[in-house]
């Protein structure tokens, strides 16, 4: 057997207690061709340099922890095969987020944006457990299913040109989440969320770049959600002029 191929990983390092600005560090390691990029980072952490910090957990593309920039593109590293890259692989923290340490970014702002869209079922009358499940047809489920698949990996925020210029922009994942509830047949809160969407820094800030949908590792298509949300927010406003309560039909 020939020796396993070697690759050099050039990784951003930053410890705010020591470094004024981020620096890079190179690690040359033998890679298993079956590895994902995350496996290489974990190998470096475990066997080469214990001071490297990154987030990860499920290693099966569902917990959303391990997003990083790989050769300048936002990638979910547990899903991203190492063998597709050349001899040198550059790994940096997700763009458009403040960096806490090494590959770990600050995500409190991202979490706050989620809460802004009221991501829960709103009903005029609350149901009790004894009422049992509400009926929903497979077609009604299909209306929002795709938009409920977001794993909150934040890649779309790294890719979004609007987020990079306007950090307060609500952003693709949060808008898609609000839209997901708006088009859920069990929800009655669309008028509240549409009012939010008509505010500043939300759906009308989107520049149609479509980058968010291109990088999404779960095919959520947030760009489609933003477009639909934009349309619905306008319709809702126009309807509100006629029907003051803005109620759902």
């Amino acid at each position: 057997m020939s020796d396993p191929p070697k690759k050099t990983f050039v990784i951003t390092r930053f410890d705010p207690d020591v470094d004024e600005v981020p620096k890079t560090q190179s690690y040359e390691i033998a890679v298993d061709p079956d590895w994902k990029v995350l496996d290489a980072v974990n190998y470096i952490k475990d066997e080469v340099d214990g001071t490297l910090s990154h987030r990860w957990s499920c290693r099966m593309a569902v917990c959303g922890s391990c997003g990083m920039m790989v050769n300048g593109e936002p990638r979910l590293t547990c899903k991203d095969s190492v063998s597709q890259y050349g001899d040198t692989v550059e790994i940096t923290p997700l763009s458009n987020f403040p960096v806490i340490r090494d590959l770990v970014v600050e995500m409190d702002g991202f979490m706050d944006k989620f809460k802004k869209v009221k991501p829960w079922i709103i009903r005029a009358k609350e149901l009790a457990a004894e009422d049992g499940p509400v009926r929903q047809s497979p077609e009604e489920l299909e209306e929002f299913k795709q938009f409920s698949m977001c794993i909150n990996c934040m890649l779309c925020y790294s890719a979004c040109p609007v987020v990079s210029n306007e950090p307060e922009f609500l952003g693709p994942a949060a808008i898609a989440l609000g839209h997901r509830y708006n088009v859920d047949s069990r929800d009655e809160g669309a008028s509240e969320r549409n009012a939010i969407f008509r505010g500043e820094g939300t759906v009308f800030s989107c520049s149609f770049a479509n980058e968010c949908s291109e990088v999404c590792p779960k095919n959520v298509d947030p760009a489609a959600a933003v477009n639909q949300a934009k349309f619905n927010a306008v319709i809702d406003w126009a309807t509100g002029l006629v029907l003051p309560s803005g109620e759902k039909e």
């Binding site: 410890d15 910090s53 987030r55 099966m60 569902v62 340490r101 929903q136 794993i151 989440l177």
Partner: protein, 574 residues
């Protein structure tokens, strides 16, 4: 230095299925109560997210509580507590209905009712599902619903290092803020542990990196017994190499297990599963696969080792895509197999711990005001073998109950003496700071972890026997000694993940101590604990729970009666 103190009425440790459900239960019961939720990860990263196949609750006309109860008792190999099981099956449909009200996108029948699928050891279709991403959807629905409640104050990425116990009453926790690198006290009049299991003590597991038995170890060190730790569930179908889970729903939807010769060995040979075949319980099917491997009827392929196949090719693309799309996604991504066309290589993999923190039916522990729910707890729903799809429901039923019980306790409880808690907290902060500053160690973290993983697999695998289990007991103690000399390279404060790894390793060593100690004294085969040297179940001597207490001189194992009821123990055959 003064340690910062935060106060809430109730402190919940862990933000997965059980922790979020507990928090919501408290918030709904009394809006004036303040809840601190401390989690080492942001809640949507919790391992509940990786659960796939479904959540069990009676839903159809051809089903009833009696059937779900009996299936669970039999699945547990009669080690489940029957009062707990009866309560569980009655609450289950209500809890899953609530998840529906909170937005969980359950898959539907044409008439709009919730669809159910078949699962191992269940006598009818009672597993609710949202394709095959059920844990993901449940976790996100719970987390998003929890955002309604401003009184749930989250402390994300904060790692609890110690329970603060005064006499025999809980007073709160000491936690390391991972981002800042500082220790704080989060005090409360009741504490709920909901930290999940500890599958990462094993080398080959479906579990994510965060599953390190933290809450179990915290409770164990505080004097609470761990119960039934010897019962470790091996899921029959993990992907070779990574251990990534391929859901039982794949068999629920009609998938077959085949050996190297293409035989459906569960049908060809008597493995105790009868006509259930691929829908037998997990313990039996995992044993069957190991026997096929040992008989030379497995496939050996490179780094993957020996494995058999899960064949879905007869189901057709449409069914696979609509019912189990994640199975296809994971197979393509992690073993390069499209199950529409080719069988998936699989082998048994450590998946779930039936054992955990010893609790009563309300989640209460031997420490006043301390509760536990979900995989970290052993409320004795699952006994010696859990049925697939009971555990997501367990998180809801017992998360809610322990939350409500914690609230009831907190209302009548006093607050501890803050000055003594501060001094205890300062000591704990000193311990963690000293660990981070340590420059003398020579034992690599990854080396110790590997040694622990290896001995847990060799001593506490699908099949076990005295000599190997005893070797594991001894090796765990040796690793515990070696751990004193652990090497820390990272001495910095901000987001020091190496320090977290060391604390997690220490937790895994402690729960492994309890696990091996219980396994060596249970000289019978029951559920997932299968002894080659004692191949039969022995109700005369072992129809009891195992308890393991921490002691500075070494673990102390004792027993606790099983709560029987209407179902008398009988031979477990399907």
């Amino acid at each position: 230095m003064e340690i910062e103190v935060l106060r809430h009425d109730i402190v919940i440790v862990g933000g997965g299925g059980a922790g979020l459900r507990a928090a919501i239960a408290v918030a709904e019961a009394d809006p004036s109560v303040s809840i601190g939720m401390v989690s080492k990860v942001y809640p949507m990263r919790s391992h509940t997210v990786s659960a796939e196949g479904g959540a069990a609750a009676v839903a159809r006309d051809d089903d009833d509580f009696e059937m779900h109860g009996y299936d669970t008792v039999k699945g547990s190999d009669f080690l489940g507590d029957q009062d707990v099981i009866q309560y569980f099956v009655q609450e289950a449909p209500k809890e899953l209905a609530l998840l529906e009200h909170w937005g969980c996108p359950w898959s539907r029948n044409e008439d709009g009712t919730v669809a159910t699928r078949a699962f191992g050891g269940m006598s009818t279709k009672r597993t609710w599902f949202a394709t095959d991403k059920v844990g993901f959807h449940m976790l996100h629905a719970l987390f998003q619903h929890s955002m309604r409640f401003d009184q749930i104050v989250r402390y994300d990425e904060q790692f609890v290092t110690k329970l603060l116990v005064d006499g025999n009453t809980i007073r709160g926790v000491a936690a390391l803020d991972i981002r800042e690198g500082v220790m704080r006290l989060v005090l409360g009049r009741a504490v709920v542990l909901a930290t999940g299991g500890g599958g990462k003590a094993f080398p080959f597991t479906t579990n994510g990196n965060i599953k390190t038995g933290d809450g179990m170890a915290l409770a164990y060190r505080a004097g609470v017994a761990l119960k039934d730790m010897e019962f470790v569930q091996y899921h029959p179908t993990g992907l070779p190499g990574t251990g990534i889970l391929i859901t039982e729903a794949a068999r629920g939807e009609g998938g077959y297990l085949r050996n190297a010769d293409g035989e459906r060995f569960l049908v060809e040979r008597d493995y105790g599963v009868g006509t259930k075949a691929e829908l037998g319980p997990r313990d039996m099917i995992s044993r069957a696969i190991i026997q096929e491997i040992e008989a030379g009827r497995a496939v050996t392929q490179g780094d993957w080792g020996e494995h058999v196949y899960l064949d879905l090719t007869h189901l057709g693309e449409e069914k696979i895509q609509s019912r189990i799309p994640m199975v296809r996604e994971l197979s393509k991504l992690y073993v390069g197999v499209d199950p529409v066309h080719d069988p998936i290589p699989i082998r048994p993999v450590v998946h779930y711990m039936m054992g955990g923190i010893d609790t009563d039916i309300e989640g209460g522990t031997s420490i006043d005001g301390l509760y536990a729910a979900g995989e970290c707890a052993s409320v004795s729903l699952n006994g010696a073998n859990r049925l697939g799809s009971n555990s997501l429901t367990e998180c809801l039923v017992f998360g809610a109950r322990s939350g409500r019980k914690a609230l009831e306790f907190a209302r009548g409880a006093s607050e501890g003496d803050e000055s003594s808690l501060r001094s205890e907290g300062a000591n704990e902060a000193g311990r963690v700071d000293a660990l981070r500053a340590k420059t003398s160690g020579t034992e690599k973290i990854s080396g110790l972890r590997r040694a622990l993983n290896d001995t847990m697999e060799s001593g506490c695998g699908v099949y076990r026997e005295e000599v190997q289990i005893q070797a594991s007991v001894d090796t765990v103690q040796e690793i515990k000694r070696r751990f004193e000399d652990v090497e820390i390279q990272d001495h910095s404060k901000v987001f020091n993940t190496e320090l977290i790894s060391v604390l997690e390793l220490s937790n895994m060593i402690d729960i492994s101590e309890a696990l091996t100690s219980c396994a060596v004294v249970r000289k019978e085969s029951r559920g997932a604990h299968t002894r080659r040297d004692f191949p039969n179940r022995d109700d005369q001597n072992f129809l009891h729970h195992s308890l393991c207490h921490f002691d500075s001189t070494g673990p102390k194992v004792s027993t606790k009666p099983v709560t029987l009821g209407k179902w008398e123990p009988e031979e477990r055959k399907y």
